[in-house]
C-alpha cells in the first residue's frame, strides 16, 4: 500500500479502484457511527467514527497522490521533482492518518481511557510519521502488530457473542492484517501488489457486510 506504483503494468490504471471502494465503505461506517452518536451521545461512537475518518483521510491522500503521479507526464526534471514532493507529502499524510486510525481503534477496543497514554501514543505516531514515512515496510510491520492485537480482541468478542456481524468484523480485521503481510512482500515483488490490494479490499467488504447485518430492518 505504498504510494509509489509498485504493481504490474496492467494493474496501474485500476490501482486506486480497491481504495476507492474501501473509502466509500469507510464513509458508510462514519455515517452509521454518526447515527449512533446522535442517539446515544456516547463518546465511544465519536472516537470510533474519528478512527474511520482517519482511515478515510489516508485513502484520500493515497488516491490523490496516485492520481496526480499518474496524470503527470514525468519527462522533465521539474515535473519529476514535483512528483517526488507529491509522493513525500502524500506518504506523510498516508502514514500519519493510517497510524492515527489504528491507534484510535486500538485505544477504543482495549478501552484505554487514560489521557496520558493516549497522548503518548499520539506523540509516537507523529514522530513515526515524520521520521519513518519513507520506510513504508516499517508502517506495514507496525500495522500488522496493531491490527493483530485488535483482531485478537474481535476474535474474543466473536467467541463470546457468536453473532454473524461480529464474525464479519473479526474476518475484516484478520484480512486487513494479512493484507499488510502481502504489502511487505509486494515491496520486494511488485506482482504481489494486486493480491495485497484485493485482500485489503475484501477486508473492507467484510466490514460492510457486518454493518449491513447491524443496520438491516
Amino acid at each position: 500500500m505504498a504510494i509509489v506504483l509498485l504493481g504490474p503494468e496492467w494493474f496501474n490504471p485500476i490501482n486506486s479502484v480497491p481504495e476507492m471502494i474501501s473509502l466509500v465503505i469507510s464513509l458508510i461506517i462514519i455515517g452509521a457511527t454518526y447515527k449512533a452518536y446522535k442517539l446515544t451521545k456516547d463518546r465511544k461512537f465519536f472516537f470510533f467514527g474519528l478512527s474511520f475518518a482517519f482511515i478515510a483521510l489516508s485513502f484520500i491522500s493515497k488516491i490523490a497522490a496516485e492520481l496526480i503521479i499518474r496524470s503527470e507526464a514525468r519527462e522533465s526534471i521539474m515535473e519529476a521533482m514535483r512528483s517526488a514532493a507529491v509522493i513525500d507529502f502524500g506518504q506523510i499524510g498516508f502514514v500519519l492518518t493510517t497510524l492515527l486510525a489504528y491507534v484510535a481503534l486500538m485505544m477504543l477496543v482495549f478501552k484505554v481511557h487514560d489521557k496520558r497514554l493516549v497522548s503518548m501514543f499520539c506523540v509516537f505516531t507523529f514522530l513515526f510519521a515524520l521520521f519513518a514515512y519513507k520506510e513504508i515496510v516499517l508502517l506495514h510491520i507496525l500495522s500488522i502488530i496493531i491490527l493483530g492485537f485488535i483482531t485478537s480482541v474481535f476474535f474474543e468478542n466473536y467467541n463470546k457473542k457468536k453473532h454473524m456481524a461480529s464474525l464479519f468484523v473479526f474476518l475484516s480485521f484478520l484480512l486487513q492484517t494479512i493484507a499488510h503481510v502481502f504489502y511487505i512482500i509486494a515491496n520486494y515483488n511488485g506482482r504481489i501488489d494486486p493480491l495485497a490490494e484485493g485482500i485489503h479490499m475484501l477486508g473492507y467488504l467484510s466490514l460492510l457486510i457486518a454493518i449491513i447485518y447491524c443496520f438491516k430492518k
Partner: protein, 90 residues
C-alpha cells in the same frame, strides 16, 4: 452483581416494557417493569413525554401509557445500535 443501567438503557427498558405489552401499559405495571422508584420513573416519563416518545391516554376511566411513532422508531434505532456495539465489542 449486575452493572448499573445507563440513562439510555433505562429509557429503552421503559419503552420496551410498553412495546412488550402490545403498545399499552398500566402505570403500575410500568413501575414494576422499569425497576425504578416511583419518583425516578415519573421523572423519566415526564422527559419521555416531552420528547414525544410516549403518551398518557385514558381508556374507560383507566390510564395507560402508549408508545408514539417516535417511540417505536427509537426502539428500532436502539436495537440497531446495540447490534453495532455488540459486533465490535464496544
Amino acid at each position: 452483581m449486575s452493572e448499573r443501567r445507563s440513562q439510555l438503557e433505562i429509557v429503552h427498558d421503559i419503552l420496551q416494557a410498553i412495546q412488550d405489552k402490545g403498545g399499552k401499559i398500566k402505570p403500575t405495571h410500568l413501575l414494576y417493569k422499569s425497576n425504578l422508584s416511583h419518583q425516578r420513573m415519573m421523572l423519566y416519563i415526564k422527559d419521555l413525554m416531552e420528547k414525544n416518545l410516549m403518551l398518557l391516554v385514558n381508556d374507560k376511566d383507566k390510564s395507560f401509557y402508549t408508545l408514539t411513532d417516535q417511540g417505536h422508531e427509537f426502539l428500532s434505532n436502539y436495537r440497531k445500535i446495540k447490534e453495532f456495539t455488540d459486533a465490535f465489542g464496544l
